[in-house]
């Protein structure tokens, strides 16, 4: 009640007024002032809202950052994270940090840079249960009621085979050895080195379905700028969509059980396909 009262007065007079002794001769003027000031407030609010929303849109658009394990998808994560930093405090390796002004990331949200400090994949995942908002959701890293860090999906490692010296033929398996899921997330593929004719390439291959994105490989990479590096899932992974099914995979075929079909008719599909192909009308000059 009181707020409303003050608000009304303030609009009438343009600033805080605590008495309502408005002289009568001013009352006609007041109506104009009221509308003018109302419009002004509306304009300023719209302007502020525009700048504000543009800024929020801008900072939340930076997708090239890696979240702690068990983070919700980026959109839900930004909604849910309250920016308290308890995951940062829980991390024993100081891997996680909160985005500061100047980092060009959504302010106050946790992220990590694997080339500096990767995620060391603690089996008890201390950063996740402390999250008060479930923006880091324990369920995403739980199998059979036990925390399982191997279920984490922070990102996926990608190899630039032009700068990876193993692809040159130099023997290096630093990333392969560093991988906590050795032999599963990164395997070594042997191929013949045609250049020398007698040596082998020992090429690292990342298996994106197993890789957790911890970044230990990126940290271990010996090249000047890491030739293997972690990208967020949304950036590095494609999506086949619903239209393709692996017929040889029983689990994938189950998707067909729920499939529904819909037949749409267009002007062309009214006729048989062959007719439509034979129709050259419109293609030739009359």
């Amino acid at each position: 009640m009181e707020i409303h009262y003050q608000l009304k007065l303030s609009i009438q007079k343009g600033s805080i007024v605590l008495s309502n002794n408005i002289p009568k001769k001013d009352q006609k003027m007041n109506r104009r002032e009221f509308f003018l000031n109302g419009a002004r407030a509306l304009g300023l609010t719209a302007l502020g809202g525009l700048v504000w929303s543009a800024y929020v849109d801008e900072v939340s658009a930076s997708s090239l950052l890696l979240r702690p394990p068990a983070a919700l998808n980026e959109k839900d994560f930004l909604k849910t994270c309250i920016k308290c930093g308890m995951c940062v405090e829980a991390c024993p390796y100081d891997t996680l940090q909160l985005a500061k002004p100047g980092d060009n990331m959504p302010l106050g949200t946790p992220y990590f840079i694997p080339r500096d400090i990767p995620c060391y994949m603690c089996p008890d995942i201390p950063c996740v249960p402390v999250c008060p908002t479930d923006a880091l959701n324990e369920k995403l890293v739980t199998t059979n009621n036990k925390l399982d860090i191997n279920k984490a999906s922070m990102g996926v490692a990608v190899i630039d085979d032009n700068s990876c010296i193993a692809f040159w033929g130099i023997q290096c398996d630093a990333c392969y050895r560093a991988c906590p899921l050795l032999g599963e997330a990164i395997t070594i593929e042997y191929t013949k080195n045609e250049r020398t004719g007698k040596h082998a390439f020992l090429k690292p291959v990342v298996h994106a379905d197993v890789c957790t994105g911890c970044g230990l490989c990126e940290k271990a990479c010996v090249t000047q700028k890491a030739a293997i590096f972690v990208l967020p899932n949304e950036v590095a992974k494609g999506k086949a969509g619903d239209y393709y099914i692996k017929g040889w995979d029983k689990n994938d075929e189950k998707r067909l059980e729920k499939a529904t079909s819909k037949t749409t008719t267009t002007k062309i599909s009214e006729r048989k396909a062959v007719d439509s192909l034979n129709d050259i009308g419109g293609l030739l000059d009359d």
Partner: protein, 272 residues
């Protein structure tokens, strides 16, 4: 000296509270002394009691986030505390930005800026517009809109986890309050203050004015960061009921005439 301490007992108590809280947060992050973990957006007391910023949680809710029980309980605890006990005490007893704006205000008073420009060119209701706007933006953008730009969380988070360019926020607020608008940030713009103003009106701890003792020296109005709440000074013996009062107690300690005092709202009514 003793008189000076006596004359600023609430000020000292407030600074001690503000610094202790920040120190406990920093100690938790740096040395793992987990008495109070997290920051002012959300924390955990003694590893068990969750405490959360109800305004941040409200924004998250409007943004469409699923509110977890921990943060909900924490928000309710804080909400109930300020609603029924503290009033808007967050602003003057906890928030670190208060130290910055109080400094601006102190300089303003010392150099007589307030006498040059008496009328402030903006309404104190901006904070309610910002509050409403933040919820509208949160709803449409799907993010807690004010949390992404809040210089308040930028500063307290910065002090605990690393400031980055956050010092710029400190400088901007300081200069804004010093040269642009008296009590500009805390008293006009900050929607957190607006939020606590709205819920703080119900709190039991209130400043009470006794107009028989008042000698109309107006020292209280000079130091008050929300001087409109002291409209009854010299006139009526009533408590300050506006939620915009931050319960900082500056008016109580500068009063030489025992005309202002803290009291508990309902008890006072009964004894009347």
């Amino acid at each position: 000296m003793i008189n000076l301490i006596k004359k600023s007992k609430f000020l000292i108590a407030r600074r001690v509270t503000q610094f202790t809280i920040m120190f406990l947060y920093i100690a938790a992050n740096v040395w793992g002394f987990n008495f109070l973990m997290g920051n002012l957006s959300s924390s955990k007391l003694l590893d068990t009691v969750p405490l959360s910023d109800p305004y941040a949680v409200l924004q998250m809710f409007t943004a469409g986030a699923v509110i977890a029980s921990d943060v909900l309980i924490g928000a309710i605890i804080i909400f109930v505390f300020y609603m029924f006990i503290g009033g808007r005490a967050f602003c003057s007893w906890v928030c670190p930005v208060n130290i910055i704006t109080d400094l601006s205000n102190y300089i303003r008073r010392k150099f007589g800026f307030n006498k040059i420009l008496k009328r402030q060119p903006a309404t104190r209701n901006i904070r309610y517009y910002v509050l409403v706007l933040s919820l509208i933006l949160s709803f449409f953008m799907g993010y807690a809109a004010f949390e992404l730009i809040s210089p308040v969380s930028m500063i307290h988070r910065g002090l605990i986890f690393g400031l980055g360019f956050g010092w710029a926020a400190i400088v901007i607020i300081f200069l804004f309050d010093l040269f642009v608008l008296k009590n500009g940030w805390c008293g006009h713009v900050c929607p957190i203050g607006g939020f606590y103003s709205l819920i703080g009106r119900f709190s039991l701890i209130r400043v009470h004015h006794n107009h028989e003792n008042c000698t109309a020296c107006m020292k209280c109005k000079e130091v008050c960061p929300e001087s409109q709440v002291l409209f009854m000074v010299t006139k009526d013996s009533i408590p300050v009921t506006s939620g915009e009062c931050t319960n900082c107690g500056r008016c109580v300690e500068v009063c030489d005439d025992e005309a202002l005092n803290f009291s508990i709202k309902n008890l006072k009514k009964e004894t009347k």
